[in-house]
Symmetry: C2
Subunit: 307 residues, 2 copies
Amino acid sequence: MKDILALDVGGTHIRSAWVTDSGMRDDERVHADLRGLTTAAGAGAQEALLAALVQHIELRLEEGNAHAVALGMPGFIDRHGVIAASPNLPGISDFPLKRLLGERLTLPVTVANDALCAARGAWLLEDPRPPSLAMLTLGTGVGGGLVLDGRPVIGDGGTAMEIGHIPMVPKGHPCGCGKRGCLEQYASATALTRIDAEAGGPGRDARELAEAANSGEARAREIYQDAGRYLGLGVATLVQLVDVRTVRIGGGLTRSWNLLEPGLRSSLDENLIPPLRGKIDVAPVAPERIDQIALLGAADLACLDLI
Amino acid sequence: MKDILALDVGGTHIRSAWVTDSGMRDDERVHADLRGLTTAAGAGAQEALLAALVQHIELRLEEGNAHAVALGMPGFIDRHGVIAASPNLPGISDFPLKRLLGERLTLPVTVANDALCAARGAWLLEDPRPPSLAMLTLGTGVGGGLVLDGRPVIGDGGTAMEIGHIPMVPKGHPCGCGKRGCLEQYASATALTRIDAEAGGPGRDARELAEAANSGEARAREIYQDAGRYLGLGVATLVQLVDVRTVRIGGGLTRSWNLLEPGLRSSLDENLIPPLRGKIDVAPVAPERIDQIALLGAADLACLDLI
């Protein structure tokens, strides 16, 4: 791998690292506060985001000679690096970020969905490397990325692995996407808080609920178990559609893997055709490793020159 | 494409055709009755199937010089051409058909899932050719095949696109696979008959139900509409996982496309995230064309030399 400056861009931050043949050249991250920049609507938000990215990248390029710049970002990003929409970056739509950054930096630029970057990075780090790997990220929503037969799945229009929005519960809870009953309404951190409140609880956040569950509170345990069961159902659906047998779970909720795992595993097995039962390798990725994995995956996607 | 002898093997038949650069060299099919051969259990059924295939193929090879032999068959078939199991071919399990046929014929042999062959053939015939295409086949069960970014999706273990077995209805109707509530229990020809009987009807077959529906019978129309709605839900799930935007529906039930289509389209749209709505090209493949399409696809898979 050539020297690549990889960025992980979120709703409120930019993290970056140099990725080289020997792995991360540093694990020092530069953080930048994006809040305020992307809350302005329309072209203003897009210009502000572009300016913040250029500023950050140019600063880091003073440290070395990059062959390419790779960005992982939330949202629907097609293979031309156009961000169609990004729920976590309000005001950004149909934004040709790859082209605009390329013009400003005069360097090859890759822009890819952040969960796809995480899937790619996790796949690279597996030993032995499996043919395929799916990554689910559990945070405020449920995201996903897929590597199939060694190739990243981008989708015809850049919306592959929107597993957070597969239908789970007919006429279920309204989702931010405009539909009802999506997986992320039952298996994200946000969902746990809502479900706690609906069950008469104080609407505790995922960490408070985990503390209660680990202290033996039955309701809190059940909320995590149900979330695990919905995840198992989602993973079983995915596995039966693409026959991916290595599944990694990332994101903040994996801090409570002990609480999610039993429901996830039993529901996964129940919802798989018998020849697939017991054949799916599901494991969490530690929350403190997922950012680095996504940066590594972004850099590798830049090398593939697909997007 | 070199000259390839392509076979479509089902529970009761073998069909075959020569496929060349200029398409099908003939559309004459040789039918053979496999009934009785594959009903014996265990090694006997496997030996009988192998013998029937060798006999058929050797007869047809007298007509020309084949570069390869390509078989499309129902069942879970891995990339080494081992049939792990085949619900429509009882007695066949962990059967290394590709290797055994290759030894007997001293020719390259490809063995692939029949719905994958149909997906590949349909993808080849599209003009312009889309990046990806999914095929669903509606018959006694619901099968599927997927071409993603121009490549056939086989899956880590050969069970990709088991869309007939994705979970649809919690604690739903028992499925032949051993689970409950699978899609094929709500959207196959077999399902329609059962649902008619459950609703107090005489348990009519798909054709009788279609006649009744087209004559204005409300219950028969509703049975088709509900099947269409379940299909739409399944397609929406698939689309949100791999972002395939070209979907073809094959199999006997497409004779009643007029009855399936309204439920399918409305349910598909309702269950897609808004950016995907109206962007999925769904169309039926005429039942009389699907066999030829599968033979063409099998031949092309042989050329790819992936399986």
